[in-house]
Symmetry: C2
Subunit: 330 residues, 2 copies
Amino acid sequence: MGRINLAALAFALAATSLAAQDRKPEPVTPASVIAASLPSEWTAIEPSDLLVMDLAPDARGKPRRVIIQLSPPPFSKGWVGNVRTLAKARWWDGTSVYRVVDNWVTQWGDGDHDTKKARPLPSGIAKVPEADYTAPLPCKVYLFQKKVIKEQCDPVVTPLDGIDPYVIKGQAGFAAGWPVAFALEGSGNRIWPAHCYGTVGVARDPSPDTGTGAELYAVIGQAPRQLDRNVAVVGRVIEGIENLSALPRGKGPQGVYDDPSLRVPIVSVRLASELPAAQQPRFEYLAGDSQTFADYVHVKANRNDAFYKAPAGGIDVCNVQVPIRRASAN
Amino acid sequence: MGRINLAALAFALAATSLAAQDRKPEPVTPASVIAASLPSEWTAIEPSDLLVMDLAPDARGKPRRVIIQLSPPPFSKGWVGNVRTLAKARWWDGTSVYRVVDNWVTQWGDGDHDTKKARPLPSGIAKVPEADYTAPLPCKVYLFQKKVIKEQCDPVVTPLDGIDPYVIKGQAGFAAGWPVAFALEGSGNRIWPAHCYGTVGVARDPSPDTGTGAELYAVIGQAPRQLDRNVAVVGRVIEGIENLSALPRGKGPQGVYDDPSLRVPIVSVRLASELPAAQQPRFEYLAGDSQTFADYVHVKANRNDAFYKAPAGGIDVCNVQVPIRRASAN
């Protein structure tokens, strides 16, 4: 909900503020925690870190826009650079969404990339090594215990208390507003983005290929954490995921649309910073080192509002869903 | 994949058996493990435990069928009984799918249930207490360590090695082919179904209401494990989930379709055992106490085939996806 269902969040916030006029104190919910946040706890997302993808309108003529936030350093720098190059070259304009697998991914780019009709890539596309699926962990790690622990490094890492089954000898948490996992690997600590719902990654051929960033996918099901450290994560869908997740599932091999007429045309993909200033979408995320974020995680892991009888007492990193919202333009 | 994408699984199996004729040994994959299973490791699902829901055909005239397996004892017995009563009364015929929330649930039943136009329930609907969200754990628990440990009880419980963040003082695993969690609660061990992708649960009002089973939902996103022990799980979608997950998202409050014309009509819901014998769908699941299931979990948690560079070394209970497949009619 939270980050990929802003409409529902907005509704919940409205309901909470109305209810605040009643006498009974309202139970604490994730929405009420967010409603009480301070403006200073939110971090703006730069338009240069947003990708705006416009698909052809749907059968009823409704516009379909998908907004993707690109992963920040130190994650996947080579591939994110390629994605910027491809967007600036307008390479995706006229390509399509060509693969949809239920509870797995929706994929787009050049549907003919493995044929003689493949669209040539622009110059300047880097070949990135597998070693870059992870990055050095820049901070010493503190346990997350309902209080904020700041570190003199960038990004600040906020661990989630609890064991991540995908990193038996490591941890999961948040860095720069992104779900991450980290562990001791070889001679040092390494950190990497976690594959969650809405994560955007780089499709590729078998290892050691690492892909270019031209063929991308978004996760539309249960977090496929087995892809962590095996595929480059370059971003996440922060608005319009339903334009990818509610598409018909492909019936060809590996969920590719067997009938090319089912492909959804991509009209354009632009960095938001390339759009006229007035058209640039503005977003902000709740900083991982804020008190409100700490409270939000605690409340999500221990729901005890009117709907809940048995608080879970825990939560996985992908179900936290870092709050992201529209910000007013400056 | 696995259980909810049988077409993809069949494709993978075919590819594996062709490849077996080559000289190079194929890497072990979840699909190759399943391909090598013994018929005796599969357990038939009784037609009386299947619900067949037919939605109105889609815009292209394509039929839309959803097949749901009902939860076995000891889980949610009161609510499952209600679901059987409702199906036998043909109560859902003429109702609709009326709510779709991205990365959350698709819900169906009487879209007017909270209005004066509410459809009366048939007689014999039980009111079930919250205590029944969990059941006594019938077995002593052994750790799952790549070997099969049988217990003289029904259902056999197969724990998953690793800590479930949703049950800090407990465990996750499988019972009778279903993902479950269990923990010491009060004076004894309790077990309950885990909310995973495709899980079917009973919509309800705030606690202490427990719902009847008339309004149902299917999970279409990241496993909402916070609902465990808070909502009755009555089944799981085993075929046709895309007819629920690929529907347009609702734009009204809480994702309800604000325009009633968007509702998807439900033509009929029947227990498969009510259909003529030749039309009864046949399914089987891979038994949790089989050696192949143990191998399957191990391989899924440690992918090292051609696509993978870094095996995860762990897996969460909802990503295991118990293998379920069509069986030939007897």
